[in-house]
């Protein structure tokens, strides 16, 4: 796409905001992997690298008061919804200053102030919950939209079926974003899924379904925009299947023997963030210096967040017992 003009592209400001989100994700991910590999930090890490354009594609359309639900592979979604870097890093490292006081961890990032409402480690389980946010908006008569993210593998679990049907029946303002990275853990989609395109399943629920190249930021932006606008206007839910690729397997340390080497090499050679960057410059949407400066600023912000997290204490031991209930003390009891 490098030197191709795109008549379907949004305005320059939106183009650059998308790049900013993508770069934030890419740079954060690179830092996590570097620190993990050097042994500076230890955690179970599901890299979102390769999937940046999808979150950026809905991220620029959402308002702070819109809701997002996501999964364990959620760093890109957290950042696209605006979860602040310091609290996010601190939560990943299990620190008291994290979004959830270190009690949730990367698999359960929650930051209602940014509209990041639920991160779940249970495949598919966010889908029915997203409907509840949609229902709340509908009952309140607001035009808030809920975007729920999940993988291709999640489209085979029962919660997907129940949630999609209910959303269609109740015309909920929810956009179902299936980030299809072609694998669920170690299983390619072709071995787990009976349709070629997950978006085909939307027809079974009576809602629009669309497949988009999730590595094409502009096409993704457009599809997300249509789905979000429809939900906002009371037109009900949409299933968006955004096709992409996981660069680093299921989780950090995955030997990836089940992924053909050539396939992965080709996907990484076509790195969507890098491609988009080149396109922006080649088409005069930004200068090289401008993007480099943006990246420098992001790097500095990440430096700051990492330092903040590393210098933050772990939670007090008394936190073990808090937040189980609003009003029933747990400490020293067996209740």
């Amino acid at each position: 796409m490098a030197d191709v003009q795109r008549p379907d592209a949004p305005d320059r400001d939106t183009l650059l905001r998308m790049f900013e989100i993508q770069s934030r994700i890419k740079l954060c991910d690179e830092r996590f992997r570097m620190m993990l590999m050097s042994g500076q930090i230890q955690l179970i890490y599901y890299s979102p690298r390769g999937q940046e354009c999808i979150s950026a594609g809905w991220g620029v359309h959402l308002r702070p008061d819109d809701y997002v639900v996501t999964i364990y592979r959620g760093l890109h979604d957290h950042l696209a919804k605006g979860v602040p870097l310091r609290e996010l890093w601190a939560e990943f490292l299990g620190r008291a200053t994290g979004t959830c006081k270190g009690k949730g961890g990367p698999m359960h990032i929650t930051h209602p102030a940014s509209g990041l409402m639920v991160t779940t480690g249970i495949v598919g389980a966010g889908i029915p919950i997203a409907n509840g946010f949609g229902l709340a908006a509908q009952l309140n008569g607001t035009d808030q939209v809920t975007v729920v993210n999940f993988g291709d593998g999640a489209s085979n679990i029962g919660a997907f079926h129940e949630g999609m049907n209910l959303a269609a029946v109740w015309k909920l303002p929810v956009v179902f974003v299936c980030q299809n990275n072609l694998y669920g853990e170690h299983t390619p989609m072709s071995m787990s899924t009976g349709v070629d395109y997950i978006s085909e399943r939307a027809a079974a629920y009576g809602m629009p379904g669309v497949t988009v190249d999730g590595n094409d930021p502009i096409a993704t932006w457009k599809v997300m925009g249509e789905a979000i606008a429809r939900a906002r206007a009371g037109g009900g839910p949409t299933l968006v299947e955004a096709r992409t690729y996981r660069f680093f397997g299921h989780l950090m340390g995955d030997a990836m023997e089940y992924m053909p080497k050539e396939e992965r090499k080709a996907a990484m050679a076509a790195d969507p963030v890098v491609r988009y960057r080149v396109w922006l410059v080649d088409n005069g949407h930004a200068s090289e210096a401008q993007l480099a400066e943006m990246e420098e600023q992001l790097t500095a912000a990440i430096d700051d967040a990492v330092e903040f997290a590393l210098n933050s204490p772990q939670p007090e031991l008394s936190e073990l017992y808090t937040d189980v209930f609003g009003d029933v003390a747990m400490e020293g009891t067996t209740r």
Binding site: H108, V118, T120, P128, N131, A159, G163
Partner: protein
Amino acid sequence: MSEPRIMLTAMAINEAMDIAMGLDDKVFLLGEDIAEPSGGVYKVTNGLSTKYGAQRVRKTPISEQAIIGAAIGAAIAGFRPVAEIMIMDFLAVCLDQVTNHAAKIRYMSGGQTTVPMVIRTSAGAGRGFGAQHSELLEAFAIHSPGMKVAVPSTPADAKGLLLTAIFDDDPVLFVEQMMMYWDKTYAGDVPEGDVRVPFGKAAIRREGADVTLISYGRQMYDCLAAAELLAVDGVSCEVIDLRTLVPWDEQAVMASVAGTSRAVVVHEAVTRCGFGAELSSRIHEELFGQLSAAVQRVGGANTPVPYASNLEAAFVPQVADIVAAVKRTNS
């Protein structure tokens, strides 16, 4: 003094939902077949959809995960949903939403998000429904930190505990025993208006000196009947109705058993790993040296609930089982 308002359990539960919906427009109901014209398979929600409309009394598809999930999301977003799971055995098909999400979200978010919702469900053997429509599974929720659990035994408690549950900021599993809904045996005086029964406060239903019977829900009546029979033999039973299991009134139980030195715990759920096991264990831990006998458990057989009426009756703990257990503490 005003005239007593004698009500059936189902009507008391209905009244609690009616009052809650009248008080707070963030309260809404969702579940299978709960709306008019039928008003629910047990008619517990009768009239409410007519009064409050289909937006607030929402008929759902047969999708238990979707029901609980929607309740969770709406609860986090500021509503107070009351979700109905028609029969308690069906909790098994949405347990992920209950234990992994409703129960854990407050904790996982470090207290940023709360899930003020109620799961009402009907349960219990005795109606020839067989193994998949008869179980009491409160232990599922008790074993899931973050869930509160209430099991009322009287219409007044059914109303008062449900009102408390709806306005509580944590998720509550509210267990209704279907045998009690429309049976006049269980009818009782119900105070008018928004009268709430606090969680974690047991009721002493009968005072006694020799042995403490600890129970909840429908078995409380069997405990009272056993106490009546035993009184003839000169055995004086104290009957404690826990009303809520999370939190439970440890203080009241320990105070009573410290006085009687004997205890029998009674529930309909399968005995093995039922809440009675926890009660028994806690009493032994706290009062071992003061006990005159080991705590006895009376509960459902460690089997699925059978169909044939004689087998079903043999599954459910009976008054005679309670009497026998009390006698074991005296030998």
